[in-house]
């Protein structure tokens, strides 16, 4: 019933007012405003405050509001934060590239061979990704652990005679787990852009003598690029700040930046530094995402 106010406001005060109040402009703004105000208050405002905090400093529990860049000097200068940022970016870049690469054929399969069951396929693929994230990460712990499914399984087949210790608690485990978590979310945008491709263009490429591979490279792939780009962004941005996976399966070598951010906000440690780390993460990941988008576009222009 929340849509009610908008439809009842059109009580004309005078001709001019009535005309504006009746306009799409007014109705649209009225109707969208509750949601918009909510998002402004609980999303935009908090992020602006984080931004402000990153230029302040903290002395025990009091906040000093004089402008300083000291937090950024720490975030970008201290080896420990440099390492964490670098590792987070590398891991999430690797995860995004793998996820997009392994998902593309699936999206392609559904779009070109899904027939009338396209929706069912998409549903089948997305379902695992909606189930508890925590539990999915935990299941990888069960698989990769020292006494885990993989080790005990390999031992019972006689392929190895001692459990492999290098499966869990490192960055590889983080990468595998994150790829598993994000796979379906990467398929959706690629699928949508493949659906938009006019099939006759591909036929034309064949008629003009391109083989399957060349027509894929010169027609299908470039036209699906917007989907590839948004799949990439959908994976890389959230994974950089992932907290659960590094904590559960990362071990010492798999720690990522979110752990450091959380530490600065827990127990009144150092909010301004935590804020600066958050802002740095957001800026770097946006810059990197932008760079990858440009690189992909350039690459496609070359093969065309």
């Amino acid at each position: 019933m929340t849509a009610l106010p908008a439809s009842t406001i059109a009580e004309p005060d005078g001709p001019a007012r009535a005309r504006w109040a009746d306009s799409d402009e007014a109705k649209g703004l009225m109707l969208v405003s509750p949601t918009l105000l909510y998002a402004l208050a609980l999303l935009l405002l908090p992020i602006l405050i984080v931004f402000a905090y990153s230029f302040w400093s903290q002395d025990y529990l009091t906040i000093d509001r004089t402008f300083t860049l000291a937090n950024y000097r720490t975030a970008l200068g201290e080896p420990i934060y440099q390492d964490l940022l670098w590792r987070s970016l590398t891991i999430s870049l690797v995860v995004s590239v793998i996820t997009v690469t392994v998902s593309y054929p699936i999206a392609w399969f559904i779009s070109f061979h899904g027939g009338i069951h396209k929706n069912l396929w998409l549903f089948l693929i997305t379902v695992p990704c909606w189930t508890s994230y925590l539990l999915r990460v935990m299941s990888w712990k069960v698989i990769l652990g020292y006494q885990g499914v993989l080790n005990t399984g390999l031992m019972s087949t006689g392929l190895i005679d001692k459990p492999v210790t290098s499966l869990l608690y490192n960055s590889n485990a983080v990468v595998i787990t994150l790829v598993h978590s994000w796979a379906a979310f990467a398929i959706l945008p690629i699928f949508v852009s493949l659906e938009k491709i006019d099939r006759s263009l591909i036929e034309a490429a064949h008629d003009l003598g391109d083989n399957k591979f060349r027509s894929f490279l010169r027609v299908t792939l470039p036209l699906s690029l917007p989907g590839v780009i948004s799949a990439f962004l959908i994976v890389i941005i959230p994974t950089v700040g992932d907290y659960v996976t590094p904590k559960l399966v990362g071990g010492k070598d798999g720690v990522m930046i979110a752990t450091a951010i959380q530490a600065q906000f827990g127990k009144g440690a150092n909010w301004p530094l935590g804020a600066a780390l958050s802002v740095t993460t957001m800026v770097i990941v946006s810059a990197m995402a932008g760079a990858v988008v440009l690189a992909l576009k350039f690459f496609v222009r070359r093969i065309r």
């Binding site: 649209g28 949601t35 908090p46 992020i47 905090y53 189930t131």
Partner: protein, 269 residues
């Protein structure tokens, strides 16, 4: 071998799809398998069938309390994000106004932000204002996060809506509210139900925001997080996790069936 449109149809592709589905599903199926296993260790071969881990959940009052919290939060988040989603989705699909794109962008932004940053920024503003952390703060936080999902379900439900139906109703003397209730609502109702179910499911499984904003009353995922430190508690967690997974899959399936029925109805209208 060449399929329709001269598009390559290879033999290895279906195999790849099968492998991929196995990669997606097998880890999740492991949890229910081990939850019936008569041993605390998660190793093959299984030690025998048991229901004791499930039985032990019923006497676990802390867990039951967390489950109640999760249900309460889930219902509130579903209602709040769907109500807010209805306003925005209807405004965006129905009217052209300045700032429409920007509004849509802001609402969808949580999809493109590291969740920890949303959580941390909310935590800062809440503590800054001096509000105590509680289930209410979890609800408000999770709603921000659920809005993009509610919006995408709702906009797709509202998009195909034939506006002339409303105009006809108004021409025939129905009031604006009457039109909404008797014409618009029945057509978009499935999208609304689907949005409620999706938001509820997300809330039920959501961890980071609940972890940061929940104060002393944990939700189920926060409770699970606390248990994961103790190896001995693992089987209980597996049983609880299996129930949650079954519940999520059921809710999503219902949401999907309703959404599809709605799509067909709009196409038929």
């Amino acid at each position: 071998m060449s399929g329709r449109h001269g598009i390559a149809k290879s033999r290895w592709l279906p195999a790849y799809v099968g492998l991929y589905l196995a990669f997606l599903y097998l880890p999740i199926l492991l949890l229910p398998i081990f939850s019936f296993n008569n041993a605390a260790a998660t190793t093959f071969p299984l030690a025998g069938f048991t229901l004791k881990w499930y039985a032990s959940l019923w006497s676990n009052t802390v867990m039951l309390e967390a489950a109640r919290n999760s249900l309460f939060v889930g219902v509130c988040v579903a209602i709040l994000s769907t109500s807010l989603g209805i306003c925005a989705a209807r405004a965006i699909t129905r009217y052209r106004f300045r700032g429409r794109e920007a509004a849509n962008g802001l609402l969808m932004a949580p999809l493109f932000l590291p969740e920890i940053i949303v959580a941390v920024s909310l935590l800062m503003i809440i503590l800054q204002i001096g509000i105590e952390l509680s289930l209410a703060t979890v609800i408000f936080g999770q709603t921000v996060f659920c809005l993009p999902y509610a919006m995408s379900v709702l906009t797709s439900g509202f998009e195909g809506f034939d506006r002339s139906l409303e105009e006809a109703s108004l021409d025939l003397g129905e009031t604006a509210f009457g039109t909404f209730r008797r014409v618009t609502l029945p057509v978009v109702a499935p999208a609304i139900v689907s949005s409620l179910l999706v938001s509820f499911t997300i809330s039920l499984d959501e961890f980071i925001l609940a972890f940061f904003l929940s104060g002393t009353e944990p939700t189920l995922p926060v409770y699970i997080w606390g248990q994961l430190r103790f190896a001995a508690k693992l089987p209980g967690v597996l049983a609880l996790g299996s129930i949650m997974i079954a519940l999520s899959i059921t809710l999503l399936t219902v949401a999907e069936i309703i959404r599809r029925r709605a799509e067909r109805r709009i196409q038929g209208a």
